[in-house]
Symmetry: C2
Subunit: 221 residues, 2 copies
DNA sequence: GCGGTTATGTTGTTTTTACAACAAAAAAGG
DNA sequence: CCTTTTTTGTTGTAAAAACAACATAACCGC
């Protein structure tokens, strides 16, 4: 695992020199941990002042309500980060962070990112600007998620999500990071109704799929 | 209108001295504009590198899809800001910003906020930290909005929204910033179904309401 | 106050979704 | 390879939401 390469492709460290990264990690009190599958890294109500960056594996951001209704807010893959907003606000977490598979996570002290450091790291100001961009991007992603949720029917939600995923992966054929139950939790619909809607959509020639691999045809609305 | 007092209570300027604000405004290329009701300040697809702060009135953040389905993402009141993420990402806007009533808006150049300035403004670093906090807060608000949307039934969505509003306004009795159609657009449900659900909830003794004024009773789930 | 306009509430019908139960297919683990 | 477990798909029924149409109430300009 090439940590430096992963970090250079991350939003937070973009524009920093590869040489500088080990020094920055030290300055930001970086530490890595390994977690097994289905491990709760952050629970609802927890406090944290560390941001997490996924070095291997992937994690899910989830919520649970009184009646055990689970909802999946987001999927975070390699090179992506989580808990930025949590670490910056000193408020209890609204969500849980749970590993979707075996993971290696890098934790960084957010306060060290935000405040200028006394060691005069060259790239410190770059980090702060990146932090602003990172939060802005996360913001727009949440907005996009809201776009899917505001769709009134299961079919529209599926099309909204799948077409945004096709766009993100720059291909009509793409793989989603969710199984059916997780996809239903993500779109806030009922799994079996969604399954049946998917097969109708396939019958209508809108798309093809096989497990996690989907192909959108051009007729989509 | 006491601009300095409004700004001091805003997240972006918190911790800055009142004396310094006029100087900062100049440094950030601040400009104010007045808008009539129902005026589109930012349209979907627009670019902007200015953040807006509401000095009087209020604005709505909205989206429209192909079939004219309107959805209301948020309401922004006096002292609150909008377009932070838009201004920070150089990407086209996912949403529109439309005045809900007659408004005065202060616009600030985001790049001047983020990059250190050559005039050596004392509070410049405070501003950058505030910007990070502001984006984090906006983030958590979007998360809260998602919480409402993930509720499966109209009744649950109403309770989720109304109880969060009661908490925010620190009172069992409170006024919402939406009329019925806007509330339906905000919660992504159908207006008349929502109206009828509200009257059922009133019959069940869960709440009382009269137009925009609601009272939640303690039995709420 | 009066007519026009908009906002809100009500009701019945159609459509969609949630739920439950189960069948089939795939994956996991010896 | 075979068994067990998990995932996915299917179907019928009950519940809920969307829709449409209308009644009533509040608001606005004159």
């Amino acid at each position: 695992m090439d940590i430096v390469r992963i970090l250079q492709s991350s939003t937070l460290f973009s524009g920093t020199g590869g040489d500088e990264i080990p020094h920055l990690l030290q300055c930001l009190e970086g530490r890595t941990s390994d977690f097994p599958r289905d491990y709760t890294i952050i629970d609802e109500g927890d406090y944290s002042d560390e941001i997490g960056i996924v070095l291997s594996g992937s994690v899910h951001i989830t919520r649970h309500d009184f009646w055990g209704n689970r909802s999946l807010v987001a999927n975070i893959g390699v090179g992506e980060s989580f808990a930025e907003a949590l670490a910056c606000t000193a408020r209890p977490s609204e969500v849980s962070v749970i590993t979707a598979e075996q993971c290696t996570i890098l934790f960084l002290n957010v306060h060290k990112v935000i405040t200028s450091c006394e060691h005069g790291c060259t790239y410190h100001h770059t980090l702060i600007e990146n932090m602003v961009r990172l939060l802005s991007q996360r913001n727009q992603e949440l907005m996009k998620k809201i776009t899917h949720l505001t769709k009134r029917s299961t079919r529209e939600k599926l099309l909204s999500y799948l077409s945004s995923e096709a766009q993100r992966q720059q291909s009509q054929t793409f793989t989603i990071p969710f199984d059916r139950q997780q996809l239903a939790d993500y779109l806030c619909v009922e799994r079996s109704a969604m399954s049946s809607e998917l097969s109708k959509m396939q019958a209508d020639g809108i798309l093809d799929y096989q497990r996690r691999e989907f192909t959108l045809h051009h007729e989509e609305v």
